[in-house]
């Protein structure tokens, strides 16, 4: 190994900057090759360059490391890397002597996590679907006019702003209750579950929107966490999922009662349009007026008919009675013995009783004969029983 040159000033040993950097670089070169895990945050690849540059980030602390890899090696790996992907990088520490900067020279890169995550996600999705968590009949109707809208959001000003602006423009006569929480990274899932419960416990919140803008696959993973998905499905109030962009389908989208592609779309889902609502209430009032007037009209007509019947009733009754009486009189007439006498019959009485048999009297008995007009006193001459 070549020795690093240094200058001598009296008893002082002095290195030039390049010599120092080269010296450090040589020391670094003696370290064994290692694997480093991190998230890809910047990736610069150009066909004209011999080297691909990328920056790895530690998602927990934000610490970064510059990584280089030969472009031909990189291209052969066919990684299709995008920012946010988690990778394992094999290689050695390297000193960029011109800048005195520490870097990492990679010999290979492996994409990790994604495959496992996808597999686990697919399994979870199948399991929850089998339990019926995503079933259409579980979906609840959103309230047409919520008293308050719960908004669960990260520190994502855009998503939150779009949602609140849409709600305010469509239906200002409402209230939004905002609960900000960590929505990505470690511990996000349990915080989302907690925030969801807090919003659902609010006495006025009738619907909850999960408002989370776009992010990498990994960033959106908490919204596919089993606990979060179960909390969404089991929420006391209906949940609208507005997580990620159109192409993303976190599992909470499937468990939610409604899904919105953007925060603005979520806003139109959770509140009605004020103008339409006012028109509908106005229409109800007109029908109310018409209905009560029609009812009163019906009642008035009925009353008029009843009055009419009341007035005509006594006369009708009298007429009926008179007719009945006439009939009885006629019948009475036909039964009267006086009418029989009129036709030439006579009644013969003896001692006050009408005679029906000749044997009831004897020769010489006095009898009384009643005629239609007047009567005769007579004696029996002969009895012919």
């Amino acid at each position: 190994m070549p020795k690093v040159e240094h200058l001598v000033y009296g008893d002082r040993k002095v290195f030039t900057v390049s010599a120092f950097n080269r010296g450090i670089g040589m020391h670094l070169g003696k370290l064994p090759p290692v694997w480093v895990e991190g998230e890809v945050t910047e990736l610069r690849r150009n066909d004209a360059w011999a080297t691909v540059f990328l920056t790895l980030k530690d998602p927990k602390t934000g610490a970064t490391l510059s990584v280089t890899i030969a472009r031909r090696v990189y291209d052969r790996l066919e990684l299709d890397l995008s920012e946010g992907a988690t990778v394992h990088v094999a290689g050695r520490a390297e000193m960029y002597e011109l800048k005195g900067e520490l870097g990492f020279r990679a010999t290979t890169i492996e994409r990790i996590g994604l495959g496992d995550h996808l597999l686990a996600l697919e399994q979870l999705k199948r399991q929850l679907a089998a339990e019926g968590l995503f079933a259409a009949e579980r979906k609840r109707r959103l309230p047409r006019v919520p008293r308050a809208i719960g908004i669960l959001t990260g520190a994502d000003a855009a998503a939150r702003g779009d949602l609140v602006a849409t709600i305010g423009a469509r239906f200002p006569a409402t209230k939004v209750v905002i609960r900000e929480t960590r929505v990505q990274g470690r511990g996000a899932a349990s915080r989302i579950v907690g925030a969801l419960a807090a919003l659902a416990a609010h006495p006025e919140v009738d619907v909850i929107v999960l408002a989370r803008g776009g992010g990498s696959f990994e960033d959106l993973l908490p919204f596919s966490d089993e606990a979060v998905v179960r909390a969404v499905a089991g929420s006391r109030v209906p949940v609208v999922s507005a997580v990620g962009h159109e192409q993303d389908t976190p599992l909470c989208d499937l468990a939610a009662d409604a899904r919105a592609a953007t925060p603005t779309a979520a806003g139109t889902l959770v509140v009605p349009d004020l103008g339409e609502l006012a028109a509908s209430v106005g229409a109800s009032r007109r029908r109310l007026g018409l209905a009560v007037r029609a009812q009163l009209e019906r009642d008035r007509n009925k009353l008029a008919r009843q009055g009419e019947r009341l007035r005509t009733a006594p006369r009708l009754l009298l007429e009926r009675r008179r007719a009945a009486l006439d009939h009885s009189g006629a019948r009475l007439q036909t039964l009267s013995p006086l009418a029989t006498l009129g036709r030439g019959y006579a009644i013969v009485r003896s001692g006050g009783d009408a005679l029906r048999s000749a044997a009831a009297v004897q020769t010489g008995d006095p009898v009384d004969i009643q005629l239609a007009a007047g009567s005769l006193g007579a004696r029996v001459d002969e009895v012919r029983p």
């Binding site: 006019v145 008293r147 929480t181 209430v281 009032r285 209905a291 009560v292």
Partner: protein, 66 residues
């Protein structure tokens, strides 16, 4: 504590009253009472829609570590 009625509840009650009146089998005293109630509901609905401004409440986490 009774929960304040939602706009939707008020509107539903109004619609029910309208439907009952439109069916036309309500005794006249009841019809007048229903109409009055309907008018009240209408006014309440309108009052809730008019002049309101979006209220925003920030729900702070009870756990400071959140």
């Amino acid at each position: 504590m009774t929960e304040p009625k939602s706009f939707e509840d008020l509107q539903r009650e109004l619609d029910e009253i309208v439907t009952r009146l439109e069916r036309g089998d309500v005794p006249v005293d009841d019809a007048i009472a229903l109409f009055r109630r309907g008018e009240e509901l209408y006014k309440e609905c309108v009052a809730r829609l008019q002049g309101a401004e979006l209220q925003i409440e920030e729900l702070l986490p009870s756990d400071p570590g959140t």
